[in-house]
């Protein structure tokens, strides 16, 4: 964002100087880089805590509770149950802070157990459905696909057929490669494992290519910021 106000300008300069401090790591590890790293981590945690408070704690707990207390005498029984549940949740959350005391740290196990139990209960059935059942279903594809109703050589959809076949063969070969229950000395085992490795290498190659793209994207973004917002933005701000 190009600076429009004096405060914007200060922000842009601060960001630019900190960016250069991070880039100074390319020469060697140094105090400027370490200070910037500490500022980044501290700033992220600080902002995170403030935002969590104002986005969650305040609107979800404090505001409803204030409204409840203001008309406490007129509240129906179900609202009292709600208030008790909220108080219980608050107490459970406060127990997390017992980690700071060596003697009372065991109390934090209660909210931890509650969270793990809740997460496991909700997550495991959905996880099995999403990552095992659906993925297995997507692998069970016909090896030969026909374009029309007729089962004839001329009706084979070769592109889909090749795609499906390579998918099934790839999955089986990779699974076989990771099957260590017996020694793979025979020709079939070695050939299958080799093919499995080839599939894995294709996957790793794709990941590497995309990783290069991701890192260069971040670099170009930062260089773009330094050129457009910092240098040209400052010049524009002073009317040059």
């Amino acid at each position: 964002m190009a600076p429009d106000t004096f405060m914007d300008l200060i922000g842009v300069w601060l960001a630019a100087v900190l960016s250069l401090c991070v880039f100074s790591f390319l020469l060697r590890d140094n105090i400027l880089y370490r200070v910037t790293e500490a500022i980044f981590v501290g700033g992220s945690v600080g902002i995170g805590i403030v935002l969590e408070f104002w986005n969650g704690f305040y609107p979800k707990l404090i505001v409803p509770f204030q409204k409840f207390v203001a008309k406490a005498a007129d509240q129906p029984p179900e609202r009292w149950v709600w208030a008790a549940y909220m108080l219980f949740s608050l107490c459970l959350g406060v127990l997390f802070l017992s980690r700071f005391s060596r003697k009372q740290a065991w109390l934090s196990r209660f909210p931890m157990a509650y969270l793990i139990g809740l997460g496991t209960g909700m997550g495991i059935p959905l996880g099995i459905q999403t990552f095992i059942f659906e993925q297995t279903k997507a692998t069970l594809v016909p090896l030969v696909v026909f374009q029309g109703e007729l089962v004839q050589w001329s009706q084979i959809n070769w592109i889909v057929t090749l795609g499906n076949t390579s998918l099934v063969v790839g999955v089986l070969c990779v699974l076989y490669y990771f099957f260590f229950s017996f020694k793979k000395t025979d020709l079939f085992s070695r050939a299958t494992s080799r093919l499995g490795v080839a599939y894995l290498m294709l996957g790793f190659g794709a990941s590497f290519g995309y990783t290069v793209m991701a890192r260069i994207s971040l670099l170009t973004g930062r260089v773009d910021f330094l050129k457009e917002d910092w240098i040209l933005g400052t010049l524009r701000y002073f009317g040059w």
Binding site: M1, S44, I47, G48, L51, E52, N55, G56, F57, P59, K60, G119, M122, G123, L126, G127, Q129, T130, F131, E134, Q135, K137, A138, L167, G203, A206, S207, G209, Y210, T211, V212, M213, A214, R215, I216, S217, L218, L219, T220, G221, R222, D224, F225
Partner: protein
């Protein structure tokens, strides 16, 4: 109506902001209402607001200026993504009673008919964090049968290709390349297309080094250096 989840913070912003802008501008150009949230990242919530406002207030001649509360709404972040999505699947208004600016959602005409994920035509999740797409797929797609498309950082894209094949997600934008392709498809090449020039040279350099490294390897093996 689409729901866009800006699940990223400034650390991956150079890669995902062009993509997020392209998606939002496309929706605005088609007259589609946009609900913005930042489900996964509290730190990314102010950034998402800036992106939405920038798209709404700088239409670049593609659409009329969009008004907050009439054409789009930004809801921000709520702590604990898993619980937030679970609750959104049952009642969006109970999860976010107000928008990021504190206005009551029920007062916005276009939000009155939106109760759950089922009332949104398409969910777009733009993220750079491992675990976030899984949570969206588990809850929004698997539990509440919503249709999801994703835009992701390039570094994590190959791990999520299988979900495209299994149709658990119906679209996948890979990093800056995806953003550039989206911009070209919209007929409005912008920052992502410009940055792809640097990508071209960087990739050419990496390919060159790989070739040189391989040649050296075979030469050493042949002549036993």
């Amino acid at each position: 109506m689409i729901l866009v989840s800006f699940d990223f913070a400034p650390d991956v912003s150079p890669e995902l902001t062009p993509m997020a802008e392209a998606v939002v501008r496309h929706a605005f150009a088609r007259g589609i209402h946009v609900i913005g949230i930042a489900a996964a990242s509290a730190q990314g919530a102010p950034l998402a607001k800036t992106i939405l406002e920038n798209c709404a207030q700088n239409p670049r001649g593609l659409y009329p200026e969009q008004i907050n509360g009439a054409h789009y709404v930004y809801l921000g972040n709520r702590p604990d993504m898993f619980s937030t999505l679970m609750q959104m699947g049952k009642d969006i208004h109970a999860t976010y009673e107000t928008d990021y600016g504190g206005r009551v959602l029920a007062d916005m005409p276009f939000m009155r008919g939106v109760k759950t994920f089922q009332d949104v035509d398409y969910l777009v999740v733009i993220t750079g964090y491992v675990g976030v797409p899984e949570t969206w797929m588990q809850i929004a797609n698997m539990k509440y049968k919503a249709t999801i498309g994703m835009g992701m950082t390039a570094v994590s894209i190959s791990g999520y290709m299988p979900y495209l094949q299994s149709k658990q997600i119906t679209g996948l934008l890979p990093g800056l390349r995806g953003a550039a392709e989206y911009e070209i498809a919209l007929g409005e090449p912008n920052v992502a297309v410009r940055r792809m020039v640097a990508q071209l040279f960087a990739h050419a350099l990496v390919v060159f080094f790989i070739v040189v490294g391989n040649i050296e390897y075979f030469v050493r093996r042949r002549y036993g250096a």
